[in-house]
Symmetry: C2
Subunit: 369 residues, 2 copies
C-alpha cells in the first residue's frame, strides 16, 4: 500500500508476463533446475511482479536465487522428504531446495490433508527463500480454503524491542481468504515495520526511509526520515543494515507486538520443524510454515464468501480520514495491479532488464524481453 517504491514510468521497460516467465524459467533450467520446477519458480517471481510486490519479484530475488544455485548454497535438484507426518501435520526437509519450488508442493499436500481433516499445517526445514509469502497462501483459494504462509528468514535483521543487535528475521506472515465478487483478502506482511528488500529498492530509487523503520547504531528507533544506508560489505543483492525495527517501531507504539509476532514465525517455521532459529543459522537458510483451513469444515462456503464480500465492502466504504483518498483492504491494490499489468505489461527498471540480459548471455539461456 506504499507507493514510494513503484518504478517511475520513465525508468521502466515494459515486459509481458509470458516473456518474463519464459526468460526466468530458462535461466533456472540452465542451472540444472528441472523444467517443471523452473516453471514453478518463475511463476512465484512473476506473480510478485504482476501484483506490484516488486520487492519480491525478479528485481531483488532472482539474482540471489541464481547466485545461490551457482555457488552451491541452493540445491537445484533437492531430495526433499517428509520427516514426520500425521493426519493434519507434515514436517518436510527441503534439502536446501528453493522455497519457491518446494513450498507449493508442501501447500498442495497440506490442502489435500485439510480436505479430509478440516485443518492442516506443514513446517519446512533446511529451505531457501520462498519469494512472496502471499503466493503460497493464495494456493488455497481455488480449493475454497483459507491459506496461511509464514517464513523465517535466514539472517537476523530485526532488533528485539530494547535491543541494539538484530536477533530476528523479517519473518513475513501471509493469509489469503476466498471471496465471491471482491478480490480475495490477501494480507502479506513482514513483521518488521518494513520489508528488508525495500531498503535496497529505496537505495536504487533514491527515496528516504520513513521514521520508525530502522534504529540508529545505539539501538534507538530513528524518529526522522533517513537515506537508505549503504549495503553491508560483501552482501549480495540489495544489502541492508541489520537494524530494522519490529512492527510498532517503538516500545510505546507496541513494538513488542511486532517483535512477538516475529518470534512466533521463528517458532512455527524453524523450531517446530526441528531446524533452529535465525541466530543459529547460516545466512541464506530459510524455514517456512504453510497451513490450510477448509472453510466447509466450519461453515457453508457460499455463506462464508458472501459474508467476506460484505465485510470487505463495509471496510472499503468507511468514511475517509482528513486528507486521505480511500480506505483499502488487504490484497485490493495488488489485485488491481495484477489486472492492469496482465493487460499492459510489467514495468521493470532499466537496470534490472540490463542485468537480466547480461545474465542470460552469461548463462547461455534465451533472453525474450
Amino acid at each position: 500500500m506504499i507507493d514510494r517504491f513503484r518504478v517511475p514510468e520513465s525508468e521502466a521497460t515494459i515486459v509481458t508476463r509470458q516473456a518474463l516467465h519464459a526468460t526466468v524459467s530458462g535461466m533456472f533450467e540452465t542451472l540444472t533446475v528441472p523444467e517443471s520446477d523452473a516453471h514453478q519458480a518463475a511463476d512465484v517471481l512473476v506473480a510478485a511482479d504482476l501484483r506490484g510486490v516488486d520487492s519480491h519479484g525478479v528485481s531483488n530475488q532472482l539474482r540471489s536465487y541464481l547466485l545461490g544455485l551457482i555457488n552451491g548454497e541452493i540445491n537445484p535438484t533437492p531430495t526433499w522428504e517428509i520427516e514426520r507426518e500425521s493426519p493434519s501435520g507434515l514436517t518436510i526437509n527441503c534439502d536446501r531446495g528453493l522455497g519457491v519450488i518446494i513450498a507449493p508442493k508442501a501447500m498442495q499436500m497440506t490442502i489435500q490433508k485439510a480436505e479430509h481433516t478440516g485443518v492442516a499445517m506443514a513446517t519446512l526445514k533446511n529451505g531457501r527463500h520462498l519469494g512472496m509469502a502471499g503466493y503460497h497462501a493464495m494456493r488455497a483459494l481455488e480449493h475454497d480454503m483459507i491459506g496461511v504462509c509464514m517464513s523465517s528468514t535466514g539472517s537476523p535483521l530485526v532488533l528485539p524491542t530494547f535491543g541494539r543487535e538484530a536477533r530476528l528475521g523479517t519473518n513475513p506472515i501471509a493469509i489469503a481468504v476466498p471471496t465471491y465478487q471482491e478480490p480475495p483478502f490477501v494480507l502479506d506482511m513482514a513483521t518488521s515495520t518494513i520489508a528488508a528488500n525495500k531498503i535496497g529498492l529505496a537505495r536504487r530509487l533514491g527515496t528516504l526511509l520513513a521514521p520508525g523503520w530502522i534504529a540508529g547504531e545505539d539501538g534507538t528507533p530513528l524518529d526522522h526520515s533517513v537515506p537508505a544506508p549503504p549495503p553491508l560489505p560483501g552482501s549480495s543483492g540489495s544489502g541492508y543494515p541489520p537494524r530494522l525495527l519490529p512492527l510498532g517501531s517503538t516500545p510505546e507504539g507496541g513494538s513488542y507486538k511486532g517483535y512477538g509476532l516475529a518470534c512466533m514465525v521463528e517458532i512455527l517455521c524453524g523450531i517446530l520443524s526441528g531446524d533452529g532459529f535465525s541466530m543459529q543459522s547460516k545466512p541464506g537458510v530459510y524455514r517456512h510454515m504453510v497451513a490450510a483451513y477448509n472453510v466447509s469444515a466450519f461453515t457453508q462456503i457460499d455463506q462464508f464468501k458472501s459474508m467476506m464480500d460484505a465485510f470487505l465492502h463495509i471496510l472499503k466504504s468507511t468514511p475517509v480520514a482528513a486528507n486521505q483518498a480511500k480506505v483499502l483492504v488487504a490484497g485490493e491494490v495488488e489485485a488491481e495491479t495484477e489486472r492492469y499489468r496482465l493487460l499492459h505489461g510489467i514495468p521493470l527498471h532499466h537496470e534490472v532488464v540490463d542485468w537480466i540480459r547480461k545474465t542470460c548471455k552469461y548463462l547461455g539461456s534465451p533472453f525474450d524481453l
Copy 2:
C-alpha cells in the same frame, strides 16, 4: 510490558489468589452460573490479575460480566453445541455463554483432536467475552502443544487505515509455546496499538495516552500524548473512544499490518464460524478461535523445548539499546509477576475492592477479601 498501568502500592489493597477466586466464584454462582462454570470463570479472571494483566482481570471485566448476567445479555446456563465437526475442526455455538467458560471447553476438545491429528482448530460463534486470550492459549502447554487463541470483539473500536470511523474490534491474538527452564513464550496482544481496556485504566489512574494510540475526530492519528477521553454516553464499565489505531499507528508505520491482522481475527472467529463481523453485531457479542499444534506431530518434544530455551535465552541476552534496562521476551514479565503475586498477593485498587464489597452485598454472595 508497559508499566504505566500498575496500581500504585499506596492505592492498593492486597488480596490472595484464593480469596479473590472464592469471592468471584460466589458472585457468579448467585447469578445462577453452575458451580464448576463459576470456578472456571473466576480462574480466568484471577489468572489475569496474577499475571499482572490488570486490564483483563476483575477490575475491568468482572463488572461487565455480572451486568450482562443480570440484564440477560449473557446466558448463565447456555446450551452450547457443536454445529460442525471434522477430525481437526469444530464450530461451536456458544448460545450467549461467557467465553471465559466456553472457550476452555472448546480448547479442551481442540487439544484432544490435535492429539490424534497433529493440528486442530475451533471457531466459536454467538459468544461473550473470554477474558485474557493468553489464558486459553496456555491451556495447551501442559499437553506439550502450542496453543493459539483469537477473539473478535463485539464493538467496532479500531479505525481501518485511512478511515475516520471504527470498523474493527481490538481483536487480540495469543500464542503460548512450551519450554523447559524458561517461562513459556506467551504472546497476548491486541491488534490495535493499545487494548481498549487500557483507556479506562488510564482514566482511572490519570495517566496520558501515548502518541499513536488514538486518532482525532477527523481520523488523523494523534502524534502527541493526550488525556484519556471521557467515557461514551451510556457505556458500562470503562468506556472508550471508538478511534483506536491499528498496530503500526500510521500508514508509514505499517498500520495496514495491524489493520490486516484485525481483519484476520474477524475472519477466523466471526466469518468462519458463520456468525458475522463486528460491524454487523450487537455490542457485547464476541466470536473466538482456539487452535492447538501438537509439537510431537512435527518434531521431538524434548528437542523442541530445549531449542525454545536457547532461543529465548539468546533474545534475552541481546545487547541493550541506549538508556534501556534489558531485552524481554513475551510472557517473561507476566511469569515473574505471577510468581510474585502468588507469594505476596494481588494488588487491587481500593475503588475495585469497594465495588466488589458492595456488589457482593447486593448479590448476597460472600465477600472474602
